[in-house]
């Protein structure tokens, strides 16, 4: 066998192992074309203009409604909706009369008053996310299964990562149950993996520092200088899934978030683990049909949880109604 033959043989074997299911010469199917039209709209459509009237109506009426709710002292983020069965009910938020920057300053002040500590390469994260199947949402359920990821990793790439079955959350917000839909026992190990030196590649090998410019910080996640609060809120969990940051580092992350466009305060809330928090909203033109809810602790200022909710028809969650929580991540442990 000469060198070229050996090359061909290797290439043939590698190609025979190609796991792609879709044949290379597949013409676009009706489903693929439907996905395209969901993203960009069908040719000749004028979706922007057809939505002008509702937008105008909303922009006229919304301030009035908000004022009324402020007078009543209470605003509940899309309260019991038929959509809630696809995911946990949106958190109830009470207006606290403070604007975004004042609320953010209070959070930062709390964080800066915490005792000095170190960033820790060990973290526990509770999470749930809607799972689309064949481009459709699963059937509505009374409760959704949460999972808990626990990671402990070292600078040299060694790591131990365990995913544990958490309790199921009733979608109506009435608490949790140990009866998971997948039948796993709560606390049961779903996966347990050990990584040898050099095997584990963290998302961020170091957390941003206060001395980093906002631009430099954003670029650590591959974000551009024009990124908005929603863009940043969408990547913060990747750092908090692996790091349990000191309060100083949490302040750096939050300080960056609050400086970006699309950052507003919603009010006071109690998160899904029963902790008092301040709810901030982050939006991005990248995902106009999604909004991110960032909950900071009302006692320590630390990140408690980040949730994503649909706004209108989200092309990633076709068939999922407006106002559905589709993704939830929480950090149960203080340092």
């Amino acid at each position: 066998m000469n060198s070229d033959d050996a090359q061909d043989e290797l290439g043939r074997l590698l190609r025979s192992l190609d796991p792609a299911h879709t044949p290379v010469d597949t013409a676009l199917t009706a489903q693929m074309l439907a996905i395209r039209d969901r993203i960009a709209g069908p040719a000749g459509s004028s979706s922007a203009t057809s939505r002008t009237r509702p937008k105008l109506l909303a922009s006229t009426l919304l301030p009035l409604v908000v004022v009324l709710l402020v007078v009543m002292g209470l605003i509940v983020l899309p309260s019991p909706s038929p959509a809630s069965a696809y995911g946990p009910r949106p958190l109830a938020v009470t207006l606290n009369g403070r604007d975004a920057q004042r609320s953010a300053n209070e959070v930062l002040s709390m964080l800066r008053q915490q005792p000095a500590s170190q960033d820790v390469r060990r973290q526990r994260t509770a999470w749930w996310a809607i799972e689309m199947r064949d481009g459709r949402p699963p059937a509505p359920t009374p409760a959704v299964d949460t999972n808990i990821s626990e990671i402990d990793w070292r600078e040299d790439g060694r790591a131990h990562l365990v995913v544990i079955a958490g309790e199921a959350m009733f979608v109506d917000g009435s608490g949790t149950t140990t009866a998971r839909s997948d039948g796993r026992p709560v606390g049961g190990v779903i996966s347990d993996e050990t990584f040898d030196a050099g095997e584990y590649q963290p998302s961020l090998t170091a957390l941003p520092r206060a001395s980093d410019s906002l631009e430099a910080m954003l670029s650590m996640w591959g974000l551009t200088p024009h990124s908005t609060a929603g863009d940043f809120a969408s990547v913060i969990p990747s750092a908090l899934l692996e790091w349990n940051p000191s309060s100083t580092s949490q302040a750096v992350l939050f300080d960056a978030l609050r400086q970006l466009e699309g950052f507003t305060v919603l009010g006071d809330t109690v998160d899904r683990l029963g902790r008092r928090g301040v709810a901030f909203e982050a939006t991005t033109p990248e995902y106009p049909t999604r909004r991110f809810l960032v909950i900071m602790s009302a006692q320590t200022g630390r990140f408690l949880s980040i949730e994503q909710m649909t706004v209108g028809e989200d092309p990633h969650y076709v068939g999922v109604p407006d106002g559905t929580v589709v993704d939830y991540t929480a950090w149960p442990d203080e340092q």
């Binding site: 050996a6 090359q7 290797l10 095997e199």
Partner: protein
Amino acid sequence: MTREATEALTKTREVRRSAFNELYEAHYVTVLRFVERRVDTRDVAQEIAAEVFTVLWKKLDPTVPFDLPWLYKVARNHIANHYRRLGRRAAAEQQLRILGYRAEAIAGSVDDDLRQRVIDGLTRLPARQREIVLLTYWEGLSAAEVGVLLDMRDAAVWAALSRARVALRAALGTPARMAEGGTR
């Protein structure tokens, strides 16, 4: 808004849509296959492929070239996020598992032993080299395209690919002196 301005806006929108449709038609299946090779269910692959083209639609500027390596790059980020979220090994590690499934699915031919040796060889390669091999043989990318995707220079890609081929041919039992196909 004046009628002229509305017409201009509509025209711009149509130009964008047309550019998007062209890219979608040219690359959707390729991107879907790229993702299918790296995640273990079709649903997730379809979801990630749709996310990639949503990002394209948001960022698309018909005057700026958006090519396949750019789409692959976006797809890699989404795949990495998918695994990170699941608290699982990096995508490159998952690929080995997927390769194992594939080998099982096509088991029963005379190539079984050779395929297993290739998988063993791939398992022993550093993650970066393995990624370069698979991008070359599965995606059919040139060294320059792999370089764009992995932020490496062409020469570094060639060097890594050559080292990987030597190792894989050794795993197949091909004599080492024949193994090197040239480093250019």
